[in-house]
C-alpha cells in the first residue's frame, strides 16, 4: 500500500439550474494512491465527469451545491480558498478533456499553451528554460519536429496530435495527479491505443497518479488496476478490474461488459 | 387573441416578463395611432400660420407648443410622422421586394449571374448606407418620390444577400427535391416551395430595415435633400427647429422625441419577438 494522495469522501453535487434541485453525484468516494491509475466507468450522465470536474476544481461556483470533502495535501479542495485551489490547478493536479479539437485556444501558439502552467506557477523559470522544457515535453509525448510545432497553431494539427499537446501541457508541471476525462473518445481506434500507451508511459516515468474516466470498460481494463463503476450519480460497484470482469455483482456492470466487442474478452 | 395577451405575462419557466415586447407594442401602437388618427383629424391645421402665436411653449392648447410661424407642432408631428412612415414603408417595399427577387434567383440558379450580382452587392454593402443613398439622390435629384426610390434601391443589397443565403440553405433540402421530382417548374419551386420558408428571416430583416429606413430618411431630410415641401417629414422639421434651440428648446425636443420613440418602439418590438422565439 502506497501513500494516499487524494481522499474524496461523501461527495454530493446538486444543480440548481431549474426550480427543482437535481442531484448529479451522490456519496462518491475515491482513494487515490501515489502513482496509481484508477478508472471511473459509466454511461453518459452517470456523474463520472462531474466528479472529475469537482476534483479538478472546475465546477462553476454558482447554481450548484457541493458537499463532502476532497482532501489533497492536507487541504479540503471543496472549502479552501480560490487562491489555494488555483495554486494546485495545473501544477499538482492537471486535467485533459474529451474534445481535443476545442480544448486548445485557437488563437494562441502551441508553445505558449504548453508552457502556460510553468508561467503561472513557476515564475522563477525564465523564458528560455520554459521553452526548453516545453520542447522536451513535446518530444516526450511523441511529437516530431517540436521546434517547429512550438510556433504552430492548433488548427494545423490533427485530433490525435492535439490530444498529445494537451497531455504535454498537463504534464509539464509534473503534477501528482492527472485527471483524464474520456481522453480518447473523440479519436480513431488506432490513435486511441497510442494515447492510452502514452498515458501509461507518463505514469511509469513520472510517477503521476491518473484518474482515467471512460464509458469503455475494455479501455479501463487496459490501463487501470482498480475501477469505480457509476450509474446515475451513484457508485454501484468498486474494486479490482479483473475481479469485476470475472464476477460482476450488478446487472449494470454486466451490461457494460456485454457492450464490449467480443475480441477483447477472448 | 388570448394567446396574444399571454405573451406579456410572466414566463412560468424562467420567471421573466418580456418587457421588450410589452414596451414595443405600447410605443409602436402609440405612433401608429398618431399616424392613423392624423389621417382624419389633427387638433389644428398643420399648415395654418398664426403670427400671434409664434414659438409658444408646451400648454394644454398646444401640447408640443408652436413653431416659428405659429403652427401647432403636435399637428405637424402627426402629419410629419405620416410622411416618414410612408417613405420608410415605400423604401422597405422596394428594398425587400426587389431584393427578395434578386436573392431568390441568384441563390437558386447560381452560376456566373450569381457571381457577378454578388460582387456588385458586396461592393455596395461595403459602403455606408448613407453614402449609398446620397449617390442615388444625386442621380435622381431631390424630391419626395426620388428620395423614396433612392432609399429603396440602397436597401436592395442587404435584402438580396439575406434571401440568397436562405435560398442556398433551402435549395438542396428534401422537400425541394421532392417537388422537383414531381415535375414542378423552377419558378414554382422558388415562389411556392422555398419562398414561404424564408418568411421568418425576411420578417426580422424587415423590422430592422424599417428602423434603418426611418433613420436614413430623417437623416436625408435633415440635410435638406429628403422629402421636399409640402411633404414636411420629421427630419426636415427637426432641422428647421434646430435654429430655435435656444429660444424654445421644447420645439426641437418634442420632434426629436417622436423620432426616437418611433425607432425605439420598433427595435423593442424586434427584440421582443426575438425573445419569444427563444
Amino acid at each position: 500500500m502506497g501513500n494516499v494522495i487524494l481522499d474524496v469522501a461523501d461527495l454530493h453535487i446538486e444543480f440548481h439550474d431549474h426550480d427543482k434541485p437535481e442531484t448529479v453525484v451522490e456519496d462518491f468516494d475515491l482513494m487515490l494512491e501515489e502513482g496509481e491509475i484508477v478508472g471511473i466507468v459509466g454511461e453518459s450522465g452517470s456523474g463520472k465527469s462531474m466528479s472529475a470536474l469537482a476534483i479538478a476544481g472546475l465546477l462553476k461556483r454558482h447554481a450548484l451545491t457541493k458537499k463532502g470533502r476532497i482532501m489533497f495535501n492536507g487541504t479540503d479542495l471543496l472549502t479552501c480558498s480560490r487562491k489555494e485551489l488555483r495554486s494546485y490547478q495545473g501544477d499538482e493536479i492537471s486535467m485533459i478533456f474529451q474534445e481535443p479539437m476545442t480544448s486548445l485556444n485557437p488563437v494562441k501558439k502551441i508553445g505558449w499553451q504548453v508552457e502556460e502552467s510553468l508561467r503561472i506557477h513557476h515564475k522563477d523559470i525564465d523564458k528560455k528554460e520554459r521553452k526548453r522544457r516545453a520542447i522536451e515535453m513535446l518530444t516526450a509525448v511523441g511529437m516530431h519536429d517540436p521546434e517547429k510545432l512550438y510556433e504552430k497553431y492548433p488548427h494545423e494539427l490533427s485530433g490525435g496530435m492535439r490530444q498529445r499537446v494537451m497531455i504535454a501541457a498537463a504534464m509539464i508541471g509534473e503534477p501528482r495527479i492527472l485527471i483524464a476525462d474520456e481522453p480518447t473518445t473523440a479519436l480513431d481506434v488506432t490513435i486511441q491505443a497510442q494515447i492510452v500507451e502514452l498515458l501509461r508511459k507518463m505514469n511509469r516515468e513520472k510517477g503521476t497518479a491518473i484518474i482515467f474516466i471512460s464509458h469503455d470498460l475494455s479501455l479501463i481494463r487496459q490501463i487501470c488496476k482498480r475501477v469505480i463503476v457509476m450509474q446515475s450519480g451513484n457508485i454501484v460497484e468498486t474494486g479490482y478490474v479483473e475481479d469485476i470482469f470475472r464476477h460482476p455483482k450488478m446487472s449494470y456492470t454486466r451490461k457494460l461488459i456485454a457492450a464490449i466487442p467480443q475480441i477483447d474478452l477472448s | 387573441m388570448k394567446k396574444f395577451f399571454s405573451l406579456f405575462k410572466k414566463n412560468k419557466a424562467t420567471g421573466e416578463r418580456n418587457t421588450f415586447l410589452l414596451l414595443g407594442v405600447i410605443i409602436t401602437g402609440f405612433i401608429l395611432l398618431m399616424v392613423i388618427v392624423g389621417l382624419f383629424y389633427t387638433p389644428y391645421n398643420p399648415t395654418k400660420m398664426d403670427a400671434s402665436a409664434k414659438l409658444q411653449g408646451i400648454s394644454f392648447k398646444h401640447i408640443m407648443g408652436t413653431d416659428n410661424m405659429g403652427r401647432d407642432v403636435f399637428s405637424r408631428v402627426m402629419y410629419g410622422s405620416r410622411i416618414t412612415v410612408a417613405i420608410a414603408t415605400f423604401t422597405i417595399l422596394i428594398g425587400a421586394g426587389i431584393g427578395t427577387i434578386i436573392g431568390a434567383l441568384t441563390g437558386y440558379f447560381g452560376g456566373i449571374g450569381d457571381e457577378i450580382t454578388m460582387r456588385i452587392i458586396d461592393a455596395m454593402l461595403a459602403f455606408p448606407s448613407l453614402l449609398l443613398s446620397l449617390v442615388f439622390v444625386s442621380l435622381f435629384g431631390t424630391g419626395t418620390y426620388q428620395v423614396a426610390i433612392a432609399l429603396g434601391i440602397s436597401f436592395i443589397p442587404s435584402f438580396a444577400r439575406i434571401v440568397r443565403g436562405e435560398f442556398l440553405r433551402c435549395k438542396n433540402m428534401d422537400y425541394v427535391e421532392v417537388a422537383r421530382l414531381q415535375g414542378a417548374s423552377n419558378i414554382r419551386i422558388i415562389f411556392v416551395h422555398i419562398l414561404p420558408n424564408t418568411v421568418g428571416v425576411l420578417l426580422s430583416s424587415v423590422m430592422i430595415g424599417f428602423n434603418n429606413a426611418v433613420l436614413a430618411e430623417a437623416g436625408l431630410s435633415f440635410l435638406g435633400i429628403g422629402a421636399q415641401p409640402p411633404h414636411a417629414s420629421l427630419g426636415k422639421m427637426l432641422s428647421d427647429a434646430q435654429g430655435y434651440l435656444f429660444n424654445r428648446p421644447s420645439y426641437v425636443m418634442s420632434i426629436g422625441l417622436v423620432i426616437v420613440l418611433m425607432v425605439l418602439g420598433f427595435s423593442f418590438l424586434g427584440e421582443g419577438i426575438k425573445r419569444i422565439k427563444n
Binding site: 503561472i120 | 448613407l130 440635410l223 427630419g235 428648446p249
Partner: protein, 314 residues
C-alpha cells in the same frame, strides 16, 4: 504574404468596378455637362467647340479611363459652379472631416471595449441591465438628434460649449480639436452602444467554450482567462464591426457637420448635390469609396494577425 497580396488585388478590382459604376452613372444622367457649364451664355457653336476640346465626343470607355487615371493623379476635374479644380476645393475640407471621423472612432473604442468586457464579466448584474437599456436607447437616437441634445446640454445648460464657435485647424489646433469633441461624441455614441452589445455577447459566447475550461484547469485567475484567452477570440467579430463603423463614421460626419456648423466636406457635397455639380459629387464619392476600401483592407490585415485560422479557410 500571399493572403495580403490577394486582398490588395481584390481591393484594386473592387475600386475599378466602383469607379466604373460611379462614372457610368454620372455620365448617363440626362443633361449635357457642357451646356450646364455655360449656363445661359451657351451658344450651339460654343458648346460644340468645347465638347470637342474637353473630349466629350470620345467613346465612353476612353473618357472613363482618362477620368480614372487623372483621378489617381489627383486631378478630380473642375466644378461647374465654381469653375475651379475640385481637388483644390476639397483640400482644406478633407482634414476636418477625417479628424472628426477618427475622433469618433477613438471615442467608440474607448467606451465600448471596457464596457463590453465589464458587462460580460458581470453578466446579469445591475450595471449590465442598466447599460443594456441605455444601449437600446442610444441605438434609437439618430446622431443628428443626439448632436442637438449634446449642444443643448453643454451649450445651454452647462454653458461650456459655444455652438457655431468652430475655428480652423490652421488657426488654432487646440480650439479646433476641442470644438470637435461634442460632434464626435454624437457620431460615436450609437456605434459605441452597438459595439458594446456585440463585444459583450462575443465575450460571453467565448467564455462558454472548452478552451476556457482548459485555461482554468491550469490555475489561471478569472481575469487571466478573460484577458489572456477569451478577449483575443472575442475581438474577432468586433473588429469587423469596428471597420464598418469607421466607414460609417466618415459618412456620418456629413450629417453631424451640418448640425454643428462645421465647414467640412459636408457643405460642398450637399450644395453640389442640390446644384447638380457632378464633378464635385463624383470626386467626393470616389474619395469616400477609396477610404472605405482602404479601411476594409486594413481590417482584413488585422484579422489575419489576430486569427491564424484565416489563411487555411481561404
Amino acid at each position: 504574404m500571399r493572403y495580403i497580396l490577394k486582398k490588395v488585388l481584390s481591393m484594386v478590382l473592387t475600386l475599378f468596378v466602383v469607379s466604373l459604376c460611379v462614372f457610368l452613372a454620372f455620365s448617363l444622367i440626362p443633361g449635357d455637362p457642357v451646356t450646364r457649364m455655360f449656363g445661359t451664355e451657351a451658344t450651339p457653336e460654343l458648346i460644340a467647340q468645347y465638347r470637342e476640346k474637353l473630349g466629350f465626343n470620345d467613346p465612353l470607355l476612353v473618357r472613363y479611363f482618362r477620368w480614372f487615371f487623372a483621378f489617381l493623379q489627383g486631378d478630380m476635374g473642375t466644378s461647374y459652379d465654381y469653375k475651379m479644380p475640385v481637388a483644390g476645393m476639397l483640400a482644406e475640407k478633407i482634414p476636418i472631416t477625417l479628424t472628426l471621423a477618427v475622433m469618433s472612432f477613438v471615442i467608440m473604442v474607448i467606451i465600448s471595449i471596457p464596457l463590453g468586457i465589464y458587462t460580460a464579466k458581470y453578466e446579469n448584474g445591475i450595471i449590465d441591465h442598466v447599460i443594456s437599456v441605455i444601449n437600446q436607447i442610444m441605438m434609437a437616437v439618430p446622431p443628428f438628434f443626439s448632436g442637438i441634445l449634446l449642444t443643448f446640454f453643454f451649450g445651454v445648460i452647462l454653458k461650456i460649449f459655444t455652438p457655431g464657435g468652430f475655428v480652423s485647424y490652421t488657426k488654432d489646433l487646440e480650439g479646433f480639436l476641442k470644438y470637435l469633441i461634442l460632434p464626435a461624441f454624437a457620431i460615436a455614441l450609437p456605434k459605441a452602444a452597438m459595439a458594446t452589445k456585440l463585444l459583450r455577447g462575443s465575450v460571453i459566447e467565448e467564455a462558454g467554450k472548452d478552451y476556457t475550461r482548459t485555461a482554468y484547469s491550469r490555475g489561471n485567475t478569472t481575469n487571466a482567462v478573460l484577458y489572456l484567452h477569451v478577449l483575443k477570440n472575442a475581438m474577432i467579430p468586433v473588429i469587423t464591426f469596428m471597420g464598418m463603423a469607421l466607414a460609417d463614421m466618415v459618412a456620418g460626419s456629413i450629417v453631424i457637420e451640418q448640425v454643428f456648423g462645421i465647414p467640412g466636406v459636408s457643405r460642398i457635397l450637399l450644395s453640389s448635390i442640390n446644384n447638380r455639380d457632378y464633378p464635385v459629387v463624383e470626386a467626393i464619392i470616389m474619395g469616400i469609396a477609396i477610404m472605405v476600401l482602404v479601411i476594409n483592407l486594413l481590417v482584413d490585415i488585422i484579422y489575419r494577425i489576430i486569427d491564424p485560422r484565416i489563411e487555411v479557410e481561404e
